[in-house]
Amino acid sequence: MIGVSANGLVMRFDGVTAVDDVTFDVAPGEFVTLLGPSGCGKTTLLKMISGFLQPHAGSIRLGDEDITRVPPEARDTALCFQSYALFPHLSVRENLEFGLRQKRLSRDERRRRVEEVASTLELDPQMDKLPNQLSGGQQQRVSLGRALVMRPGVILFDEPLSNLDARLRDQVRILIRRVQRDFGLTAIYVTHDQSEALALSDRIFVMNAGRVEQADTPEALYYRPRTGFVADFIGGANILRGRLTAQTAPGEWAVDTPIGVLTARVDAPRRGAEVHLCWRPETAELAADGLPAQVLHRAFQGHFTDLAVATNGVPYRIQVPRTQAREGDEIRFRIAPEHVVVLEAGP
């Protein structure tokens, strides 16, 4: 196992900065996801790690080795492409063997590795087929297998599930995580799908406008987002501007917001300071003595009901397990102080 680190990476295209001073560390055996909207620089960052793009500034290290100027074919990385990128003229077996032949491994070693990976990925019956004779899920498994047989220090995934239907996506997602753990691989995974990132990752780097906004565990990102962008991108939080008015308990402050007074835990409070708050819709609880809100829209989702509500003309969402509230009804709710997060920066 080997780790990856980057220091001050910058990449520009025609004067537009796609990656802006990005620094990170990925520990050996860690599964890290680069998450962000289209154009945030996540694929550009992945291409720099794989060697297909040379950064304008900064450096990349694989373990102790500086690989910033090392060409892709000489890097101890393997990339799984969004389009699978299988060689259309080669059988599954030949696709799997391709990299091993470049490494000039012996025939026995090639066969051993290919059979091991084919067995793990349940590709044995497909070995003599051509890629165009395989389903999308099978092609993705071949793509994954082709990377795995190389036993790379770091495996890179560029939105590998985006061409699969929902059912296959779940299957391959579980497979990727299992294989990454079993083979003890360091993995960097690119996606714009936050549920995929939350389900797979040890840590997520949320990217916005070429920068890493927050690098944290999925739980920390979800429950303790640092910025409005992260709060909104991961799970869709309610974000409000407010002012600290009074301390209500040790470490807890009342915050005057457009929808009423909320209580939040604040680390370094300053009376009168303006803050941005966020909370998750599902942390709201219906309570007779809570804040009032008018139901604008109701959507029953099975195990919860999603309510679009408004207070003083400010719209937001709450999700409750069971309610009879209908459009136009007034409800009351409260949010526990530990669920109200003070953000470092607004949206």
Binding site: F52, F81, L90
Partner: protein, 284 residues
């Protein structure tokens, strides 16, 4: 398929295929028949092996066969070898790539005889090349460059004229290979040459075969370039055939003509098979 439907399809195809079959068939028939003594324009007609036996026995015939094969194969291989890197270079558009591509394909618009005379002007005793060489101090005095005995000038001209055709075919084939496939090969450790051998060539082998065969057939049967700038100590098969015909030896000319057709066919099959075997791999 019913008999009526088959007849209907055959009838629809007959204006196109029928004409081709009639014209090609007639030419091949006359040439083959004439090479065996039929349709003798200056003597008695009748079946005879003598024209073939005498023809093959002539040193000049074998020399013409050898020389035409040399010109045909060398021109085909060099044209394709030169077209590949250019096709790969022009695979992705970049500022000026359209202009470069147009300039590279310009020889397609220049007629062979015009190209030959242009080339002759460039390499002639008082031509631009000699003047430049003398000016650069590489030559002490102008040298005779035209009609060189190894046909280097002729092959240069064949490549100049035919490379754009190969480029035209290969550019489309190379552009059809996705970036991801090439990147995947590189990511898996394949250097530039390995990427060419293991991915690019197998995926473009059909265009490669077409280029090799069409250029080979054209260069094998070359007359214009050979008579203008070719070596004076060698005769191409086309030149040899004309030589025979000009002397009224129609049956001998037919032997050379049939040889030319047979070599075209055999060479084409050989090139197709060799290129397929060299870049083994199953196609989509």
């Amino acid at each position: 398929m019913t008999l009526g439907r088959a007849a209907y399809i055959l009838m629809l195809l007959s204006p196109g295929i029928g004409l081709i079959v009639v014209f090609i068939g007639a030419v091949v028939y006359i040439a083959v028949a004439q090479s065996f003594g039929y349709y003798n324009l200056i003597g008695e007609s009748g079946f005879s092996w003598s024209f073939w036996i005498e023809g093959i026995d002539r040193k000049s015939y074998l020399r013409a066969v050898r020389y035409s094969l040399y010109v045909g194969l060398t021109s085909a291989f060099l044209s394709v070898a030169l077209a590949y890197p250019l096709a790969l270079w022009l695979r992705k558009p970049f500022p000026g790539s359209m202009t470069i591509s147009a300039i590279l394909k310009a020889p397609l618009l220049v007629h062979g005889i015009v190209a030959a005379f242009l080339f002759l002007n460039v390499i002639s005793y008082h031509g631009i090349l000699n003047q430049m060489m003398v000016w650069l101090g590489i030559f002490d005095e102008p040298r005779r460059l035209q009609n060189d005995e190894h046909a280097i000038g002729l092959i240069f001209l064949q490549v100049w004229k035919n490379m754009p055709f190969a480029l035209l075919l290969l550019t489309g084939a190379v552009q059809a290979i996705s970036d991801d496939v090439l990147n995947a090969a590189q990511d898996l450790g394949a250097g530039a040459w390995q990427r060419f051998l293991t991915v690019i060539a197998p995926l473009t082998v059909s265009a490669m075969q077409a280029s090799l065969i069409i250029i080979f057939i054209g260069a094998l049967a070359d007359f214009t370039f050979q008579t203008t700038i070719g070596p004076t100590n060698e005769r191409s098969l086309a030149q040899y055939m004309t030589f025979m015909k000009d002397r009224g030896r129609w049956n001998d000319a037919a032997v050379v003509g049939v040889t030319l057709m047979a070599l075209s066919l055999a060479g084409s099959v050989l090139l197709a098979v060799v290129s397929r075997l060299a870049f083994r791999g199953r196609r989509k």
